[in-house]
């Protein structure tokens, strides 16, 4: 099953906590540059898959590999965007300082930091807010800041755990488009956990659906919608409706 060129590879992966089986026999290969969305009922093990790739958890059976190397722990090459942006930012550091954290971890010399931080902040539209503290930012701005910090790590793999779930619809759409354009520019592989099936179709090259209790792969759906995606035209595309129907019916059946 193992794909030699895979950016992320699950090979017969199971995960147990005590007697509880969270994930069971997961096999999945994700190609470099692919945008994969994972969808399923809450508690189905979506976030656990993400934590296995991040090296924050270890499989009970099987192996998770990133770039052909088995995951042994967190790696600089794999960045994680957490769902709860409010708790994932350092409240005592400014916007500038929060991005700087990733560069300090990578031991980028101080002289080079400012330029890179400013470039990242203007990419996510926070260049006017560099001296503010996280509490002074709106939710959408805080999540933009977290995106800038993960990009500062210069990862080849970006893991996102329901990153836009807590944001209002307009902010969510603009962040979806920003992520798509950033990902297209940087050629990163994305593993995106969501419970919003329209979001999964809009963003993903492929959608992974999970059964719950224990989490197993139900179906892989290829999303062959043209790129770049657009909030209006993509959703109006004749293929979007049927895909949405297929995914919706599948999710309904999983919930029963």
């Amino acid at each position: 099953m193992t794909d030699r060129n895979a950016a992320i590879d699950f090979d017969g992966v199971s995960l147990q906590y005590g007697h509880r089986t969270i994930l069971s026999d997961i096999n999945l290969s994700i190609s470099p540059g692919e945008f994969v969305c994972v969808i399923g009922a809450s508690g189905c093990g979506k976030t656990s898959m993400l934590r296995l790739i991040a090296g924050l958890a270890a499989p009970t059976q099987g192996q998770v590999s990133v770039g052909q190397t088995p995951v042994r722990g967190p790696s600089r090459d794999v960045a994680v965007l957490f769902q709860d942006y409010g708790r994932a930012l350092l409240p005592w550091r400014t916007v500038f300082g929060n991005v700087s954290l990733a560069l300090e971890a990578n031991r980028v010399p101080r002289a080079q930091r400012a330029e890179r931080i400013e470039a990242l902040l203007s990419m996510v539209g926070l260049d006017q807010h560099a001296d503010k503290y996280p509490v002074q930012l709106s939710g959408g701005m805080q999540q933009r800041l977290q995106i800038a910090r993960t990009l500062a790590q210069e990862p080849s793999i970006l893991l996102m755990d329901e990153p836009f779930g807590a944001l209002d619809a307009m902010t969510r759409q603009s962040l979806q488009d920003e992520i798509l354009s950033i990902v297209a520019k940087r050629q990163v592989t994305v593993f995106f956990v969501t419970h919003d099936l329209e979001e999964a179709l809009y963003l993903g090259d492929r959608v992974v659906t999970l059964y719950s209790g224990p989490g197993r792969i139900a179906k892989l759906i290829d999303v062959k919608l043209p790129k770049p995606r657009n909030q209006l035209t993509t959703r109006e595309n004749p293929d979007f409706g049927p895909l949405r129907r297929e995914l919706f019916t599948l999710m309904e059946s999983l919930h029963q």
Partner: protein, 254 residues
Amino acid sequence: MKRWRGWLLPVVVLALCEAALRLLDIQSDTLALPSHIAQAAWHALLDGSLLASTAQTLLAAALGQAGGFGGGVLAGLILGMSASAARFASISIEILRPIPSVSLIPLMMMIFGFGYSMESATVAFATFWPSLILTQSAVRLIDGQLLEVARVTCLSPLQTTWKILLPAIAPHMFTALRLTIGIALIVTVTVEIVANPQGLGYSLMVAQETFRPDLMLATLLWIGLIGWGLSYGLLALQDRLFKHRAGFPMEQSG
């Protein structure tokens, strides 16, 4: 609430005391007119005796505080981060911690004799335990999410301590600092009253033995003022340092 209103009560009370004592013409070896207390304070300030003993008390308190707070924070960090270290030390801590610090005065006198060493060592003992306990619980209360951020950002253990752990517990450490400075002041004055012939506590004893209630009450009020000044300064500093942590208004959204 305007700040000057807080001063209204003590000023009125002192004025009433002055009036009552003068009207009733009370002769006393234990009470003194507020105006006489003020005079005694003025003289003690002018002849340098009050400032000299204040310097002695504050130096002893600062030395002890530095040792007790510093050591307590260090130990609290270790015990907060390592559950096995905490288990290993728990019985020892629970037995040593309840010993009243003033009950160590005889022991400290045997070891150090009179002077700064015995006084500061007693203060260090008194401030060590609260510093340790508050640090340990602050470390345990750190949001696990921040530690995961440290892990996925690949911070080294030293970087995690310096860039995540210490800033995260800093506000709690400030509370510990304010609490233990109060304790340090209590213990220094107590040691000076009971044993050590220096500082403000000793001045109180001298005033008592020379039948100077005015000087004694002046010294007491002076100690109160010092405590107020310290806590006022620390609170102002705390507001400056941690203003962005909570309840800071959003300037802009969108």
